[in-house]
Each structure stands twice: as C-alpha cells, then as structure tokens.
C-alpha cells in the first residue's frame, strides 16, 4: 500500500502540500517509502494510494486515468482505478490535456497534483462546465479558455486558525488579543487579524485618508482575514469610503463589503509606493445601494492629498465579486486611476505587472478601467463581466487579456485606446442565454478606430455562463 504525504494531506481540509516545506516532504516521503513502499522523494509527490483518483499522461503502472473526463465518468480506467464519486477529489498531474470537461458529480474537487500547473485546452465547445453543486475547480489547474471564470466562494478557507492570529475581532472580545473592531486590532505593523462571523462593523470608529473611511489600514504587513468568508462576515456603514489602504503588504480576504448610500468606494488604495504584497481576495463588494459615483476598487493617486502616489505594480485582485448594478451614477468595478483625471490628480504612477484574476464584475459603467500612461504588464484573465456598459477599457496597455467572459455589454466588451493589439481569441463573448453574438458587432473596439479587425464573433455562440462565477440572469438590467 504505497503512500506519500499527499495521501494524508488529502484527508485534511484547508491544508495543501504547499504548506509543507519541500525538504520536509521529501524526508517524510522517504520514511513512508520505507514503511509503505511509496515512491519517496519530494518532487512529484502526488497521491499514490489506491483510493486517490489520479489523472496522468504517464501513469507508469499506477491506477488512474489519462483524461479528466474519464476520471469523472469512470470510463477507461487503467490498472484497476475507480471513477469519481460524490465529494471525491481528482488529482491532475502536470501536462496539457486537450478535452472538454463536464462535471456532474456533486461535491467533486478538481485540483492539480504537485508540480507544474496542468493545462486544459478545450477541443471544441465548453472547456469546463459545472453541472452540479458544491464543485470546486481549484486554481491550480489552468483552463485555457474563458468559461472557468469569475468569483467562486464555495471553497473558502481562511488559511489561518485563531491560534495563529495575532488579533481576533469579535463582537464579544474576551482576552488581551481580542477586539470588537478591525480598526482597534490594527495597532501596529506585522499583524494578522482573524475576524469572526459575529463581527459588527458599527463598532468601527473610522480612519483612512482625512478620516473619511470606515476602516483605515495604515500599518504595513497586515492581513485581515474573515474566518468564515464573505457569506458570513459583512462590513457595512455610512461614510465616504468603506476601506482605505495606505500601507504596503496588506491582505484583505473574505468579506462582504456592502456600504450604504453615503459611500463612494468600497476599497480605496492610495499613497502606496510598492503594491507587491497587496492582495484583495475572496471578497463580495456590493455598491449597488451606495452613493452616486460609487466604485468597487479604486487605486489612484490621492485626490485628497496631492502628491500621494499610487501603484498597482504587483498587486493581486483575485476572486472578488463586484456588483455596481443599480447604482444611479455607477462607475467602475475596478479602476486604476481615472480616465478623466489622468496625470497627477487621479492617475496611477505605475500599473506594472498586477494580476486581476477570476473576478465577477457586474453592472459597472466600466468593468475594469486602466488609466495610466506607462505601458504595463498587467494580467487580466478569467474574469466574468456581466451587464457592464464597457467590459474592459484600456487607456494603458496590459500584458495579457485572456480567458475572460464578456456578457451583455451595453457599449463594448473591450475598448482599446492604445496602440497595442491583442489576441482575444481565448476570451469568450456572449452566451446562449443572451444569444447576443449578433449584438456584438461593433462592440469589441479592438483597434483605435473601433473596428473588430475582422474577428468572427459567431465562434462564441452558445457559450454557457460558468455557474459558479456569480449570479447573472436575464433579469439583470442591461447596461
């Protein structure tokens, strides 16, 4: 019964092999090799027990499958393998798989084995379609097309335990390291804050630029993480902005931020000269009930304090659902600078190589607006844009624009105001629900003159919406 440490990690929620240092993995696997006949070593270290469901192009006499769909369906098993059942996990070893995957097993998790990311490239039709509930398609697999997109909170894990946190925020604090507000917990640099689900944002006393935010994050190297995720932990309030970030290495993870009618931005990031460590992840930002001009995430030079610069270089904005629909004066879901006020007023000094990945952005004037003079290497991929007037507006070049899904844009899916050209073939436009490929004509605006450069939009007809990406129905008002 050969085993590796991955077989054991598979049994534990919230833990991955990445949590174990490589040299430690190797030593443990060597010990397991001695006791169980496992392969040892720390390299591939995929699961090898007979109950793990393995997909590999090189099974080498191991039980498993050579395609992901076969593993789901239990077809063509090799060396005595069994297919997936409810709540099982399929491990996919590094390789390129050319297939379309339909997941119809409730609770199935699809994730990569250790090593390089596997890539799935569709062989026509849908690359991955989820037809059952509680399915997790892990970020560790790259789907080389646009249907595995948008935010998904179903597999939320905080990544830390209460004992690992420096401070705990709860409505009933009891102890030296417990507080009733995030602001009170952020007293110094290098602080990890775990926020319990009974958190009450009315306990916040305000902060940020000119003290105009409900919460001001001004200390470096802080992590603010909700224990139970955005479905259970909410920040609400009535002030100009919900959260200001004016510090480096800030992680904000797992909140619903739903400001009321006085708020302009859910998250405002400014006065940051190094954004490498900033991560906005797993949040649900709903400004549909906020004030005129409300936006989801804005990174900008500080309009209130001229001279305060901002950069996006290295920033990660991942797996957030941003709803701007319903706001009378709606603006952008995510904005880097402001197209109207470029330059020192509301520009961004450096867009750099930030990552905007797997977000769902609904109902904005612009889904994502990039307004900065220097060309950038920013990656914009696997986002779902629904019912925005414009999906992506590029006033600055970006490095990658791939695997996004644009649905029901009112004016354009992509507006490119720069000279760079993009291969948008890996993005998806339209859906079978809206069947709007006809209305795509004239909306891609891929060149400065608004011409789609001869792209045949019919290739995207019939694309389904990724069901785990966010709520999109024909009842949503078009932009």
């Amino acid at each position: 019964m050969p085993l590796t440490i991955t077989d054991f990690i598979e049994q534990v929620d919230g833990i991955s092999t990445d949590d174990i240092p490589l040299d430690e993995r190797q030593r443990i696997n060597d010990a397991l090799a001695d006791r169980t006949g496992g392969p040892g070593g720390g390299g591939e270290a995929g699961p090898v027990n007979e109950d793990a469901i393995l997909v590999s192009k090189d099974l080498n006499d191991r039980a498993g499958f050579t395609s992901i769909q076969d593993a789901i369906d239990g077809e063509n098993p090799q060396n005595g393998a069994s297919g997936a059942g409810e709540d099982d996990t399929i491990f996919v070893e590094p390789s390129e798989y050319t297939e379309s995957v339909t997941i119809d097993v409730r609770g199935l998790t699809l994730k990569a084995a250790d090593g390089e990311k596997p890539t799935v490239t569709q062989d026509g039709g849908t690359p991955v379609l989820v037809e059952e509930s509680k399915v997790i398609v892990d970020d560790s697999i790259t789907f080389d097309s646009g249907i595995d997109v948008g935010a998904d909170f179903s597999g939320y894990e905080p990544g830390i335990s209460e004992s690992e946190a420096d401070a705990v925020v709860t409505n009933n604090p009891n102890g030296d390291n417990q507080f009733n507000s995030i602001g009170a917990a952020l007293g110094s640099n290098d602080t990890t804050v775990l926020v319990k689900s009974d958190y009450d944002s009315s306990n916040e006393s305000g902060g940020g630029v000119n003290n105009n935010a409900l919460i001001g994050i001004e200390n470096n190297n802080v992590k603010i993480i909700s224990e139970e995720g955005p479905e259970s932990t909410a920040i609400t309030g009535s002030i100009e902005r919900a959260i200001d970030i004016t510090a480096e290495n800030v992680v904000l993870k797992g909140f619903t931020i739903e400001p009321d009618s006085d708020v302009q931005e859910s998250i405002f990031i400014t006065d940051v000269s190094d954004a490498t460590g900033i991560e906005i992840r797993d949040n649900r930002l709903d400004v549909s009930g906020a004030g005129d001009g409300a936006e989801g995430i804005v990174v900008s030079n500080n309009v209130n304090a001229p001279g305060g610069d901002a950069t996006v270089d290295g920033m990660k904005i991942v797996n957030n659902k941003i709803n701007v629909a319903g706001n009378d004066g709606r603006q952008s879901g995510i904005a880097f600078g402001n197209a109207i006020f470029t330059g020192p007023r509301r520009g961004v000094q450096d867009v750099g190589d930030g990552v905007i990945e797997r977000n769902t952005i609904i109902g904005g004037f612009n889904g994502i607006q990039v307004a900065a003079d220097p060309p950038s290497e920013m990656v914009v991929r696997q986002n779902l844009f629904g019912n925005n007037r414009n999906g992506v507006v590029l006033n600055s070049d970006v490095g990658e624009l791939s695997n996004n899904h644009f649905i029901n844009s009112g004016n354009s899916d992509i507006t490119n105001r720069r000279d760079a050209t993009y291969d948008v073939g890996s993005n998806w436009f339209g859906t079978e629900t809206f069947n709007d490929t006809d209305s795509l004509d004239g909306k891609l605006n891929l060149e400065n003159d608004g011409d789609e450069a001869g792209i045949d939009v019919s290739q995207w007809a019939g694309a389904p919406i990724d069901p785990d990406a966010g709520l999109l129905t024909t009842d949503d008002p078009p932009a």
């Binding site: 019964m1 085993l3 049994q11 240092p21 430690e24 443990i28 027990n49 690992e164």
Partner: protein, 180 residues
C-alpha cells in the same frame, strides 16, 4: 461509531495522555431475555486498541490517562520518558515509530476500521513546525478487519528546523469501527 478523545502530545516539553476507544458495529437484539452490558477496557473491548505484541515501541503507548477504563493513548513527550531517558522527538528530524499500536476486531463480524484524522500539522508564525502521521499498514484511509484480526499502525513524526523546545501538539483522534 463511538467517539472518544485521544490526545497526542509530543515535542520537547509538556506531557499528555492519549486515549482511544471505540466500538465495533455490533447489531442490537431485542428479546425477552436478561441483558447484561459491561464496559471493558480498551484492550478487551469488542474493538480492542492495544500495543503490538513484540513491538519495542510499547513505551510510547499509555493507558489510563485519568480514566478508570484503561483508555489508550500515545505520548511522545517528556511526561512519558522512556526507560532510556528520552522524552520528546528531535527537531529537524523525522522519527518513525513502527508497530506502535493495533486495532483488533474482537467481535463477531467484519468491521471497517478507521482512525481520523491520520495527520496533524502544527504551525507557528506561518511556518510548519510539527507533522504527525498515523500510518495504517494495510489499508488507507480505512481497512476492513475480520473477527480475530487486527490492523497495525505506525507513526511518523517530523519536526522541522523551525521547531523549538516550546513546540508541542496535543489533539484528539477517533477510532471507529462500522459494519462495511
């Protein structure tokens, strides 16, 4: 399944007992008979949890742990020093305890034996410091054991170079047996 607490304590300081118990999946009966039920020790219950005969690692297995029923436990700490004077695992090392304990079916039908969890990971400041694996010898993660037979378990304990003398782990495992 009958869940009871097992404490695994290891490291270079505090001691801790370890208690395991469980029941076999033995069907109930209803008849006009006198019924006598007696709680047994872990070693003599229908699902017996014991040291492995002939194993040299029986010193890491404890009994009692505050219970009057001789409940079983694992203790790799200075609170359970060996006859050779050792008390705790080495840092920056992997320690293997082969043939540590067994779960024996002393009932009358096959049972699916499972120990959960089979792994424990302790972290400090974001760094993994201590990893404990409970390793079944023939079936993973569970195994069917017929009457009179047993599944034997090893333990592998890895303390990283980030571990210190204050590193410790105390937790609970459950041994269960259910009819397959």
């Amino acid at each position: 399944m009958n869940r009871r607490k097992l404490l695994v304590a290891l490291g270079l300081l505090s001691g801790g007992g370890a208690v395991v118990s469980g029941t076999g999946a033995f069907t109930s009966a209803s008849a006009d008979r006198d019924v006598a039920v007696q709680v047994a020790t872990d070693a003599t219950g229908y699902l017996a949890i014991t040291t492995v005969s002939g194993s040299e690692n029986d010193e890491y297995v404890t009994e009692n742990n505050g219970s009057s029923n001789n409940e079983f436990g694992l203790d790799f700490t200075s609170g359970n020093s060996t006859s050779g004077g050792g008390g705790g695992v080495n840092a920056d090392a992997v320690t293997v305890f082969a043939d540590l304990f067994e779960v024996r079916n002393q009932g009358t039908q096959d049972v699916e034996v499972q120990v959960t969890p089979l792994s424990f990971i302790e972290s400090s400041g974001g760094d993994t410091t201590l990893i404990v694996l409970i390793v079944p010898q023939t079936g993973f993660p569970s195994v069917t054991v017929s009457p009179g037979n047993a599944e034997t378990f090893d333990a592998i304990v890895a303390a990283t170079d980030d571990a210190t003398t204050s590193t410790e782990l105390s937790d609970t495992i459950t041994v269960s047996g259910e009819a397959p």
